[in-house]
C-alpha cells in the first residue's frame, strides 16, 4: 500500500483517530468480499479501490485541484453531476456509511437522527475522512429534515449550497426543479470561474448517460438465472461509482459487464441453482455499509437488485441528449431527475410501480425492505410497499437497522426465517 500519511496530515485530518478506522477496514473487506468464491476477475479494480479508499481517489482529486479544478461533494442522487462537470468541476459522493463516524456526529446532532446523517456530519467534524476534507464546496438538498438541519451545522465549517428539491411531482414542480438546476449552474460557474456552454453541458450529459448505461449493463446481467455476480460485489461497484471519475467508472463497469455476459453464456453462476433471489429496497447503503447484503448472502440467498439510491435509482432513466440550448438541457435534466422515486415525495406511487417492475425483471423470490433507524419517510412507506408487494404475490420482509452490529443476530434470524419461508 502506498503511504498517504503526508497527504492526510496536509489535509488537517485527525491522524490518530483515522488510524483506528484504517485498521478495521482490511478485515471487513476480507470478510465480506475476498472470502467469496468464484468472483468475476474484473472485480480486481474495485478490490484495489476499496483497499485504498482513503488514498487512491483522494490523491487524484488533490492533483486535479492543483490544476485549478474544484471538487464538489454531494449527498443525494438528485444533485445533477452534469452541471458541475460542464464547468470542469469534479463530483464526489460524501455519504458516511460507518458507525465509526457516528459518535462525532452525535456531538452536535440528536441521537434520534438517522445514522447516515450522523456519520456524514461526524466524518467532517471529526476530520477522519479525506473526501470530506478535500471537497471545496458541499451541495446539499432538501430531501429530508435530518439533512436540512445538519447542513446548517456543516455550513458553518465549509461552503455549502442547498438545492430545494420539490416535494411533489406536478408539472409546476418539474419546472421548479429546472429553475433550481439553472440557479445551481450559475453558482457553479461563479465558484469555478468557468462558463457553462450548451456544448460543454451536452458533453457532460453524454458522459453521465454513458456511465448510467454501463451500470445498467452490469445490473442487466443480474437479471439472469445464471447469476454471474454476487450482490455484495455489485453493491461495491455501485457505491464506488459515486466517488470515481465518470469516464473510468463507465469503462470499468463495461469491462465487468463483458465478463459477466460471457459468464452467462458459459453458464458460470456464483450461486447454486435454486438459490433464492432477493431484491433489497429502502434507504441507501453508503460505503462501507455492507451489513445487510453480507447477512443475506451468508444466510443462503443472493441479492440480485437494489431499488435504492445506491442502486437502480442512481442510474435508471437517461437525460435527453438532443437539446442544444441551456434552457432545453436544464429542462431535460429536470425531467430525468424528477423520474427518480424517493420517499421524500408525496405521493410516491412511482416507487411501488418500480418495485413491481423490477421484481419481474430480476426474477426475484422475495423483497427485503430495510430502512435506517429514524428515517421516518422510508419507514412509513413500508406499509404501502409491503401491501402492494403482497397483493402481487411477492413475499416481503420489513426491517429497520442502523450501523451498529448489535442487532446482527436478530437480523440473521429474521432474514434466515424469511429465506426458509421462500423455500
Amino acid at each position: 500500500m502506498a503511504d498517504y500519511r503526508q497527504m492526510w496530515s496536509d489535509l488537517g485530518m485527525d491522524m490518530e483517530n483515522h488510524d483506528n478506522l484504517c485498521q478495521v477496514l482490511p478485515t471487513a473487506v476480507g470478510d465480506v468480499f475476498l472470502s467469496q468464491e468464484n468472483r468475476p476477475k474484473a472485480m480486481d479494480f474495485w478490490d484495489l479501490v476499496i483497499s485504498e479508499v482513503h488514498g487512491i481517489r483522494p490523491a487524484e482529486l488533490i492533483e486535479e485541484q492543483k490544476k485549478g479544478r474544484k471538487v464538489f461533494g454531494t449527498f443525494c442522487v438528485y444533485v445533477p453531476d452534469e452541471v458541475i462537470i460542464a464547468a470542469n468541476g469534479i463530483v464526489t459522493g460524501l455519504c458516511g456509511g460507518s458507525q465509526f463516524w457516528v459518535p462525532d456526529g452525535e456531538k452536535v446532532l440528536p441521537k434520534s437522527t438517522c445514522p447516515l446523517v450522523k456519520a456524514s456530519v461526524g466524518a467532517r467534524l471529526g476530520r477522519t475522512c479525506p473526501f470530506f476534507r478535500i471537497a471545496d464546496m458541499y451541495v446539499g438538498e432538501t430531501t429530508c429534515d435530518g439533512k436540512k438541519k445538519a447542513y446548517e451545522i456543516l455550513g458553518e465549517d465549509v461552503p455549502m449550497y442547498i438545492m430545494d428539491v420539490p416535494q411533489m411531482k406536478r408539472e409546476k414542480d418539474i419546472l421548479k426543479w429546472k429553475d433550481e438546476i439553472a440557479e445551481f449552474a450559475k453558482k457553479v460557474e461563479e465558484f469555478t470561474g468557468n462558463t457553462i456552454t450548451p456544448e460543454k453541458l451536452g458533453e457532460a450529459i453524454h458522459l453521465i448517460n454513458e456511465k448510467r448505461k454501463a451500470l445498467q449493463r452490469v445490473y442487466d446481467c443480474r437479471k439472469s438465472k445464471t447469476l454471474p455476480i454476487s450482490g455484495r460485489d455489485a453493491l461495491l461497484m455501485t457505491q464506488i461509482s459515486f466517488f470515481d471519475d465518470p469516464a473510468r467508472c463507465a469503462q470499468m463497469c463495461n469491462r465487468l459487464a463483458d465478463e459477466l455476459e460471457q459468464r452467462i453464456k458459459d453458464g458460470v453462476s456464483v450461486v447454486s441453482a435454486g438459490t433464492k433471489r432477493i431484491m433489497v429496497t429502502g434507504t441507501p447503503l453508503a460505503v462501507p455499509n455492507w451489513k445487510l447484503h453480507n447477512i443475506i448472502e451468508t444466510s443462503g440467498a443472493a441479492v440480485v437488485c437494489e431499488e435504492m439510491c445506491t442502486g437502480t435509482r442512481y442510474f435508471e432513466n437517461l437525460v435527453d441528449e438532443s437539446q442544444t440550448t441551456l434552457d432545453g438541457q436544464f429542462m431535460a435534466l429536470s425531467e430525468r431527475y424528477m423520474k427518480t422515486n424517493c420517499a421524500c415525495f408525496t405521493p410516491n406511487t412511482g416507487r411501488i410501480d418500480d418495485l413491481l417492475r423490477l421484481a419481474k425483471e430480476y426474477q426475484v423470490d422475495g423483497v427485503i425492505d430495510c430502512s435506517l433507524k429514524f428515517c421516518c419517510l422510508y419507514d412509513t412507506e413500508k406499509y404501502s410497499v409491503s401491501r402492494a408487494l403482497k397483493e402481487a404475490g411477492i413475499p416481503v420482509l420489513s426491517l429497520e437497522t442502523d450501523y451498529e452490529d448489535a442487532d446482527a443476530g436478530q437480523l440473521r434470524t429474521r432474514i434466515g426465517a424469511f429465506i426458509e419461508m421462500l423455500s
Binding site: 413475499p395 442487532d407 436478530q410 434470524t413 434466515g416 426465517a417 426458509e420 419461508m421
Partner: protein, 259 residues
C-alpha cells in the same frame, strides 16, 4: 445402522428445550434445562443426555434452533426458530392453519401459518418489553414465582404501568409497592402490560384463524385468557407448547432424514 431418532434442540435465551421423535413423529423424550451463561456448555450437556438415552450418533439426526442454534456443534442443520415454532405448533395442535404467538425470554414472535407454510411473521426488536424476561423481573420484584404472579393477577385490577422498558417498569412497580398498592393489583398491571404489548404487535397481522400460544408462558392460564380477551379471539395453549420450537426442529430433522 439406520436413523431412528430425530432430535430438535431449541437453545433459547433462558431455557433450552430438547425433543426426540421417532420416525413417525411421536415424541419419545422431552428435556428442559436452563441455558445458563454458556450455550456451548448447554449443548454439550444435552448431548450427554442424548447419549444417556442410548441414542448413538449414527442413529440420529439433529437440528438446532433458537438464539443459541450456532452453538450446537453436533447439529446436522440449523433452522431458525420462526420456522421451527410454526412446524412444531402445527404438529402439537394438529392443524396446518394457525397463528403462533411465542413469548420468549428475549423476544416475542408472531407467526402466520397457512397450509403448513409460514406466510408472514413479526418479531419485536431486541428489547425485553413484552417478553418473558419482563415477567420474570417483575415476579422477582414482587417476590413471587412466575406462576404465582399470573394467578395473583387474576384477582387484581384497576392499576396500570406505563413503562415498556423493563428497567423503568421495575422502578414503577417499586413505586407502587411503596405506595402500599395491593400485590394482586400490581400483578394485574404487569400481566396486562405484556398482553397489551403483544396485542399491539398482533395488530399488524390478520388474526382470522386459530391463535395458539407457545413458549415458556403457555401454561399460564390467566395470561392466555387475558390475551384472548384483548385480541378478541380464542387463544389455545397446552403444556407441550413450551416444546414447540424443539418439536419443530425435530420435525426438520425428520425431513432431513427423508431427503
Amino acid at each position: 445402522m439406520s436413523i431412528s431418532y430425530y432430535a430438535g434442540i431449541d437453545i433459547g435465551s433462558t431455557c433450552s428445550k430438547t425433543v426426540v421423535m421417532d420416525g413417525s413423529g411421536k415424541i419419545l423424550h422431552r428435556l428442559l434445562r436452563p441455558t445458563g451463561w454458556s450455550s456451548v456448555d448447554t449443548a454439550d450437556a444435552v448431548l450427554k443426555e442424548l447419549d444417556g438415552f442410548g441414542i448413538a450418533q449414527d442413529e440420529r439426526k439433529v437440528v438446532s434452533t433458537g438464539y443459541g442454534r450456532a452453538s450446537v456443534s453436533y447439529a446436522d442443520k440449523q433452522v431458525t426458530e420462526i420456522t421451527c415454532h410454526a412446524r412444531g405448533a402445527c404438529h402439537i395442535y394438529g392443524t396446518d392453519n394457525l397463528t403462533v404467538i411465542d413469548i420468549g425470554g428475549q423476544d416475542t414472535k408472531l407467526i402466520v401459518v397457512q397450509n403448513g407454510q409460514v406466510t408472514d411473521f413479526l418479531m419485536n426488536d431486541k428489547c425485553s418489553a413484552g417478553t418473558g424476561r419482563f415477567l420474570e423481573v417483575m415476579a422477582n420484584t414482587l417476590s413471587v414465582r412466575l406462576e404465582e404472579l399470573c394467578e395473583l393477577a387474576r384477582m387484581g385490577g384497576g392499576v396500570s404501568i406505563s413503562s415498556m422498558c423493563t428497567v423503568f417498569a421495575e422502578s414503577e412497580v417499586i413505586g407502587l409497592i411503596g405506595k402500599g398498592e395491593k400485590r394482586e393489583n400490581i400483578a394485574y398491571a404487569v400481566v396486562n402490560s405484556i398482553v397489551q404489548k403483544v396485542a399491539s404487535q398482533a395488530g399488524r397481522l390478520k388474526l382470522d384463524q386459530t391463535v395458539c400460544l407457545t413458549g415458556g408462558l403457555c401454561e399460564f392460564e390467566y395470561l392466555r385468557k387475558r390475551l384472548g380477551e384483548v385480541l378478541r379471539c380464542e387463544v389455545i395453549a397446552c403444556p407441550d407448547g413450551r416444546y414447540a420450537g424443539a418439536a419443530g426442529a425435530a420435525l426438520s430433522a425428520l425431513r432431513l432424514g427423508e431427503s
